[in-house]
Amino acid sequence: MKKSLYIIYLLAFATLICSCQQKLQDLIDENPYGEGTRKLNINLIYPDGFESEKAGAEIKVLNPTNGIEYKLYSNDLGKASIDLQYGFYRVSVTDKGAPISGAIPIFNRSVDQVRLIDTLKGDLNLNVELALSYAGQLIIKEVYYRGCTGLDLKTFQYDKYITFYNNSDDIAYLDSVCFGIVEPYNAPTNPTPWSYLSADGQRVIRDTIPIIEAIWQFPGTGKSHPLQPGQEVVVALSAAVDHTILRPMSVNLNVPGYWVCYNQRYTNASYHPSPGPNLANHWLDLLWKQGTSTAYPFSTVSPAPVIFRIPEVGAQAYIDNPANRSRKPGTTSATEYIMIPSSWVLDGVECFDVTTRNKRFPASIDATFVVMGDADRYLGKTVHRNVDEEATQKAGGRIVYMDTNNSANDFYVRSSQSIKE
């Protein structure tokens, strides 16, 4: 009896060891994604007349919580599918059509907050209506906003600038071109309040964008300031002086032909000293200013600059009309923003510091974003457009930059300011 008890004890122990070993093996043999994923079926809807473009569109599905981006391509029916874990995703689509009379149609759409929830029964079907736009004539070529470091090892940020470029074969005129930044100053951690949830639960950014703090405009009577094909113009956003004397990593913004955002309503002399003599008569007009800020607050973290024309009643009349202003949805703040329809926008670029931020531009302006993180702060780095090699070749060597209204494709982080070259 005693012996048999010991044998039972030993057998039970041996069985326990074997079953534990098997459980360990089972873990590494299992597919952890077998449960807990949902299928996202994406259906691309092209504008009327462009249905034949459906195949091969690049679809990016970004998981903002971990920064992983999946790249898919649509089939002949304009469809693609992917198995995803629970979460909210950003789906962005960019496609180029066949040229029509020399103009290249661009199809873009970015859908934020695509929700894959554990209570979802079956697949999630997402119809993506692509917005039609054409490559622009006047584009933002470079934005320098992250600052640099001086010889004294102190950081410096009064040397920010933005560059506009004529990317077409025709002369562009800067006259009446307006410049501003979209609210909020930094890319938000929550979805922008200038958005809404559509009937199918997807977040949609409004088509009319809010300009914050100020609107600057190039002066001129219509053809006073031509920009030849392939020519660029630099606009100093703060101090238009030569910064390189004390800070070799910085730039000289006192160069003939450059422009500056300068107006005596901005009284902070560190940000806005009197512009250098080479910029005489190259001060942008300050069409509108909101609030009491003494310096033009262009973000050093994640700005969203935009250039546009106000075509109808004239820029000043449009701005002066209270119907064209709005307060921020969901707040009691009296701060007002000038609302600009996206169809007036010539170009805009959405800059993020981390991928988890939320967008401010609708897809028709910029379907995605370019990321310049904190590691790139104060090193003289810029976001700069990629060269479109194929288009450049066709243009006989005149540099043509990528313009797909999709900053993730169009821009890269440049190690130093291009105007230093």
């Binding site: 198995d83 929700r115 993180g373």
Partner: protein, 539 residues
Amino acid sequence: MKIKHKYIYILFALFLCQLAFSSQVTGQNKKQIKEKCLYHFDDLSRKQTWTDSYNAAGLGFIDFNNSSFIEAYMGKGDGALVKYNESDDNFNFGLRTASYKKINKTTFFGKIDYNNFRGQNMTWSGLIYPERYLLAVADSRPAEKRKESYKLSGGFSTPIATNLIFGAQINYETADLAKMKDLRHLTKLLDFEVTGGLIYKAGMFNIGANYYYRKFHEKVTFSKVADDDILYTGYLFKGLWFGMFENWTNDALNLSRPFTDVIKGGSVQVEFLKEKFKFHNEFTYKSQEGLTGPGADKAFSQSEAETYEYKGIASFEQDHIRHYLKVNANYSDATNYDKVTNQERIGGIYVTFYYGLNKAFSRRNFNLNGEYEIALGRYKCNPNWNLKAGYSYTAQTSISSIVNPLYYTQDVRVASAYGKVNKNFILDKGMIDLSLLGAYSSGSGIKQRESISENAVGINLDDVVATQVTALLNREYEFLTAGKFQGEAGFRYSRFVSTQNTAGSIYLDLKYSFTKAKELKYHDGDNAGVFYMALGYSF
């Protein structure tokens, strides 16, 4: 140099002979020494069948009336053969006391331990006990860390009816750990454990059951004090050293967060008694739930685990020879989930959207330990010779699944064996204990294997990259599986202190252990040594 060593060996051998001779002489006068002077608290406690049980009611079964000690201690560790988060140059000191005491039919147990620790070159963990969790927060700049901890235990066992004993015990630990350089962190620990149980004495059997509850909580707060633009990388590890690595800012990658785990469970015990033979068995089940983040719908991640434990102790105690066989086995299955939520401002109100739990990391672990011990000598509290040999086997498999459709598995098996011998010499006014330990451990397995989910149709995998600190993966795997020899030598001198009413001994305890590994690639050195000293009073 060799000659010098030779003299040392000769002197040591002569010293041992002298001790052996004197112990024979003094052995004849043992009656003059009160038995209490000979007590070794730890050894005595270890040779009970119920003191290691979760059921505090078993405290009543200790076979001595009372035993206590109070000691001041210090330790110094040097050498690079340490875990990834440990210091290669550390010092600690503390004060501790513990006691078993029977008053009438009630048995009490109490323990207090204060420890002050300073370690240099510490990094890769913001947590005090990172191995308890399935995810971790860390930075990569080595610096000094300081820790203060207090451990308190209190338990009792008392009969509440004929053959029925009730007992309860509380264990409590609190600690503060601070890193002294940017990127610095302050970590506060609170660990609370309570058990309560009953034992029914039924002839040749003691049958017990108890409830178990434990809550441990670590709150990590990262900060940067220096007013400079130096950027530090913060790490949020989610198993197998995969995770998120960014420049640390409270906005971009906020690593500060609480970690809270609650364990509930219970044990049943069956002890068989026959004359001098005891066979104690304990089966334990624990269910663990943990979360990080502020909690409720703001939790960042949550985990669950189940643990099954078995402890078996067989003892056969005769007058001059005592045998002990211990077998422990435990199996745990733990999974950590990313809790996917986000907040949106709708109509001026922040609304939290909940999406679901994504399995991020799973780990299964199996441990088996067997140990045989034989004690020779008249006194259980003070054997002349104590010999011990043990074997331990650990198997662990892990799977990381934070980047769909890729997943990564690891399989580690580690086996170790050890032997230890203790010799006690009784002198006129005191006694000496010498100990020697030798151990070897080695492991094998699969460091990491990448797999792709069968659902990954149509995804361009070139763009799907999981970020991992492979240096830590290599180091940890090497630490676990490398062949390691360990040796330890101990010396303890006790001076008897007796009065008419009290008996005890003042002792000085010295130990040095040395571990050396072979063929290391990912460590800065292949050995580590720890020196330990304690001065105390046993009574």
